[in-house]
Subunit: 404 residues, 2 copies
């Protein structure tokens, strides 16, 4: 498994592009992305569990119901959610793709991200299609990654190379997500492409299984978005024998997918709105996986712990407090807590009580950009990781006046 360049176009047969079409006021910000596969691809997706669902999700769900898709169109700047004509606009976006690049509208994945509840005008999108299609290229994955950004400060892309059935396969992905991130059975916008041949049912199985340990263990602010979606397109152009069941090939595919999704999770958490630090909470010693997940996620979601991490304050009591109210059944008297970073590791709590430690060394460790919070829950064999970020002045600033 090697990390490679190329992002969402790393896999054979995928082209992409991103342009500024005018949905966003700022001309220097791209706002329309297109990804096209040379061949029709197996498609899988997971969606937000929010009862309020963006119109594009409903159209996408219908379009990939047969297990296949060939293109992705996505705009930023407007979520096309809670609008009376949302479905109509999402369908119009698919029609524009058909007209421009010849992929059937019913094979298009459509997504929107941005402000909720403001009508989305199709005019700038229609006006931008020529430039968008003209620039489609296997070298323009980064343009697509840029065009789906909202409050993200950096584009998020990753790709890997792996071998299935003796054939070299590639998989890449892009993601957007910075605020309103607390996925629950689905997540922010993530588009993954691969040339590995895999049956639609197995692709969906791989994705649904993977997100329970990746995107569902990620939280920036506890708010589950209305437009979350992760999709994978697998066009089979690597030439491997199609994966149609579990087995060695499926395991390798799952590993490749997990490498992509964990990388994107870390990128999203580290670029959380206003974040200065990427936090990873690693729970071990649990009696079952669910307990480890609940504890790790509760810690990563605690506003108080997040603020303490911003201040590089080794306030481990807040870690215990968050485990205590998580709902997980744990023996508090067995809990241990350590903080770790590139500067080292420090034990701050053992057997549910504080241990003497150097505040100076703790501060030095916590001033780093990437912090691991290690919680040991007992003698059990299960563990889990969750990702998040610190809570900062800038989170408040960004969200105090997002619309205007």
């Amino acid at each position: 498994m090697n990390i490679i360049q190329g992002g969402v176009c790393a896999a054979t047969g995928f082209k992409a592009n991103g342009v500024h079409c005018g949905i966003r006021k700022n001309h220097s910000k791209k706002d329309l992305a297109l990804i096209v596969s040379e061949k029709k691809a197996a498609a899988a997706a997971v969606y937000t569990t929010n009862l309020v669902k963006g119109a594009p999700l409903l159209v996408t769900k219908r379009n990939i119901a047969d297990g296949f898709a060939q293109a992705v169109i996505c705009n930023s700047g407007n979520a096309n959610t809670c609008n009376a004509n949302g479905i109509e606009i999402a369908e119009a976006m698919c029609d524009l793709v058909e007209k421009q690049v010849g992929v059937a509208a019913s094979d298009v994945v459509v997504a929107s991200t941005g402000v909720i509840g403001q009508p989305l005008d199709i005019t700038p999108i229609a006006g931008g299609m020529d430039a968008l299609a003209e620039g489609l290229s296997a070298e323009n994955g980064s343009a697509a990654a840029q065009a789906i950004m909202t409050t993200d400060t950096v584009p998020k892309e990753i790709a890997v190379e792996f071998t299935v059935g003796g054939k070299v396969c590639r998989m890449g992905g892009i993601a957007k997500g910075s605020g309103m991130i607390h996925p629950n059975m689905a997540t922010m916008l993530v588009f993954i492409t691969t040339d590995c041949a895999i049956a639609p049912a197995m692709l969906q199985k791989a994705l649904s299984k993977d997100i329970t340990k990746t995107f569902n263990m990620l939280s920036v602010d506890g708010d589950t978005s209305t437009n979350d979606m992760v999709t994978v397109l697998a066009n089979g152009m690597a030439g491997n024998e199609e994966i149609t069941a579990e087995g060695e090939d499926f395991t390798v595919f799952m590993q490749a997918l997990n490498t992509i999704t964990v990388s994107l999770c870390r990128m999203i958490a580290g670029d959380g709105e206003g974040a200065t630090k990427l936090l990873e909470c690693i729970a071990t010693g649990a009696d079952d996986e669910e307990t480890a997940k609940i504890c790790a996620k509760s810690v990563i979601c605690s506003s108080l712990l997040k603020a303490a991490m911003f201040g590089a304050d080794a306030n481990w009591g807040r870690v215990l407090c968050a485990i205590g109210y998580s709902g997980a059944k744990v023996d508090v008297s067995k809990i241990g807590v350590k903080f770790r970073s590139a500067k080292g590791e420090i034990t701050v709590c053992e057997n549910g009580a504080g241990v003497p430690f150097s505040e100076e060394i703790a501060k030095e460790i916590l001033l780093e950009k990437e912090i691991d919070i290690l919680i040991s829950l007992g003698d059990g064999a299960y563990g889990a990781s969750a990702w998040g970020c610190d809570l900062t002045y800038d989170y408040v600033k960004i969200n105090g006046d997002y619309r205007t």
Copy 2:
């Protein structure tokens, strides 16, 4: 039901005081409170559901297991939680009360609030007892209210007068709470006193019923504290016939209690860490009470909505989003949203979609200090309220470096 002066000493037979004994470094901040009833009182309490429980809660639970208590001692500056000798120290605090004012240690409610996981030294408390007892007076309820404050910016006290069985009764309360507030079946520190005669079982019933609509509908930051506790002492000195069953008297008692608890909820929410605004979300039109409660609380807990309120931004999409992920079963297409304050009321969403509104008027309404978020969920007959506050730079500042 009249609001009166006197706080926790408004009821006949209660004296209180608060002093600086030295737990807190800042000499201008009181850190030790004592409330004493002339007669033994019926006692009821509810406690945090956090699995990590402060040692004082365990001692209090044991002491009021027989349904009676006569005094409350509470320190601020240290939570006496996650300490190896926590129980020992909490018991020593009760012993000090017995020695100083003659109330049996087993009739003392003991509480602590402050940093978790730092050993609590009994020395300053023992040293402060003389001054604490000397100043006990029916005029010093405010001193007790001050002594239990941590990051609170204002003391919180309230009292009411009501009539039961032809006798004038009084009830008063004090509260502390500003951060780590997301009560769940119990809440921050609240001490309520009354001279109304009521049997312990009925007192517990009244309290347990009340908090489901008051303190459990309050959230500052989503973190459920380890030391939350609400206690009520009822010494019967008003001379009314003891309330031993449901009926008219019990109903009046419940109303008095509710007036106290709603007032304290509003004070706590309005003084939330860093808060500039008190938010109340009022849900109506639900098919059952639980649905109304879930929706109101989800809105009040949303970091994004809280930040938008800080910025006086009428971002109603975040209200819909929070209802959508709350887990409540609602018909999104029926949801309406209005914002209201002393400056007026504005409709921003009807039937699940945005309606045109004046951003200027919305801004004017949202610039006020007290904001109501009115959500209409349909044609049902049930409603609920939840209280919270905005998310501000100062919340981050306060919690980025709380310990040092």
